[in-house]
């Protein structure tokens, strides 16, 4: 008798827990972003492959890391006030980081992906953080507090030989040289139902790092390691790094 009561209690408790979880699971959708790094449209390979920038520099890239944060889906004609805070560090050395899973998306109709390249001001003043924002990840400046939004490093040809290095660490959140940029990627309107996964594929066109409003000739500028006018310009260049490829809903 007492044993039965005890069992009943346990069953009720477990039911309650599973109910709470099922509530959570059953009302949300998911967003999966697959990023495909390319250079001038060609497949990107770290370290070994040579690429030529639009300014005719022949380069090899040895390191590429970038923060994507506050990833949100919106509809440009619906007044959707929900905004999620999230942070992802992508790292060319670890291709698993090119797939971003954003859970708990509200089922609705969407046609716009919105996010920041970099980390927002509030996060930058929030002290010690963990996960992808752990300073241990090497994307953090201690002497001038702030996250490095993006790093691109490599070597370039000088007189026909790969003898020179380039190193761009673009970071900081304070005006006038803030390094985060708001990006919107439009896609054909899609209705996302409960439990659906929206798969968005986007290219990261790395050649745009060197080209845009601020065109980089590596012989002239090859090292930026603190917030400055040039880092601000490069941040504007990298705001054009991500381009839409395809979208579909996985039921």
């Amino acid at each position: 008798m007492q044993c039965k009561l005890y069992n009943k209690f346990i069953v009720l408790f477990l039911l309650n827990v599973s109910f709470a979880f099922s509530q959570f699971e059953n009302t949300a959708s998911q967003l999966k972003i697959k990023l495909i790094p390319v250079f001038n449209g060609e497949k990107f390979v770290l370290h070994d492959k040579e690429f030529v920038t639009k300014q005719n520099d022949t380069i090899k890239i040895t390191n590429f890391k970038m923060y994507l944060s506050n990833i949100n889906l919106i509809h440009n004609s619906l007044n959707d006030s929900l905004r999620y805070q999230n942070n992802f560090l992508i790292d060319a050395d670890d291709t698993t980081t090119f797939i971003l899973n954003v859970k708990n998306i509200l089922p609705s109709t969407y046609n716009l992906l919105e996010f920041l390249i970099g980390v927002d001001s509030l996060t930058n003043v929030s002290g010690a953080l963990d996960g992808d924002l752990d300073p241990i990840k090497g994307m953090y400046w201690a002497w001038n507090t702030g996250y490095v939004s993006a790093k691109l490093e490599g070597i370039f040809k000088h007189n026909g030989l790969f003898t020179k290095k380039f190193e761009f660490h673009i970071g900081g959140y304070q005006k006038p040289f803030e390094s985060f940029r708001k990006i919107t990627v439009p896609f054909p309107e899609l209705k996302l139902a409960v439990n659906d996964i929206l798969l968005l594929e986007c290219y990261i066109e790395l050649s745009n790092w060197f080209y845009g409003d601020y065109s980089i000739r590596l012989a002239e500028i090859n090292t930026i390691l603190h917030p400055c006018k040039e880092s601000f310009y490069i941040a504007t260049n990298y705001s054009k790094l991500i381009n839409f490829k395809s979208s579909k809903i996985i039921k």
Partner: protein, 344 residues
Amino acid sequence: MKRSAFITILILLLLSLTAFQLGTSFNNNDFQIPKNWPKPNYNFKLNQLTENKFELGKHLFYDPILSADSTISCASCHLSFTAFTHIDHALSHGIDGKIGNRNSLALINLAWNPYFMWDGGVNNLEVQPINPITHEKEMNETLQHVIHKLNNSKKYKKLFHAAYNDSIIDTKRMLKALAQFMLQLVSAESKYDSVMRKEKNVRFTIQEQKGYDLFKKNCSVCHTEPLFTNFKFENIGLSIDTVLRDVGRMKISQNSSDSLKFKIPTLRNIEFSAPYFHDGRAKKLREVLDHYTNGINKSDNVHPVLKNGIYLSSSDKVELISFLKTLSDKHFLYNPKFRMNAKK
């Protein structure tokens, strides 16, 4: 029997959970703000104070495990008896006897500071320790290796578990615990404080009172009471050190109007925190006052008060120094709570 035992266990479990919540917190769950002081700048909601986290932070603060060769701890340059700074060293020295670039700052009333370091480059107390830990002339260590060492230490496994209720040791937890220790370094029990609080039988001497009057007239525009700093950056007319070429705030702001500006330091416990200025060029308080009266290098952005000139007679300086000594807080300097292996 079984049923009543089950209910008893359930009640005990609930009670123990509640007790645990209470037991690990300080009795004064909130940070104690001294009377008539402003609100602290630190956001305690994101790092609620507990005794165990404070203890963990204290162990970390005093442990050379944070440095590459286990020779330097935070306390190496921030000693409790000397207002948590490095007395007798103009520039602090770190690993392998390497000399740093600046005079170590006194760690006092940090909860009120909006930013840290002489140039204000650090915006949150929690992330400040990353600087000395990773600086090649200080501890020359990597965060990865510190966390690795802590994870391999039985002592720290225990301390982190006591503080966070599980075995995860990471940067965030280490830094939050260090912050808990540093936040408690509050100095508000000096003679000056007793006088201001009109405590019985505590009065300034005539000399101290004259010094206080001079202080209010000449110094308090920057060294504003009760924290004795307004947290601004100023050029106080020190000529640039030709070896260090330290431009101060300008390095952070990239703005030439900030050239040679440094953070206004607190004057609390100033008697014990020599040497003075960002590069420790003044060994004695008298030298500091002599600079203000006779040594100002009047560059464009020097503070207007100093541009106009401060006049202090020799006896004024004696009076002013006697007032500054009323800012010494023995309760703070010799508080066993802030020391390792000291009886509480």
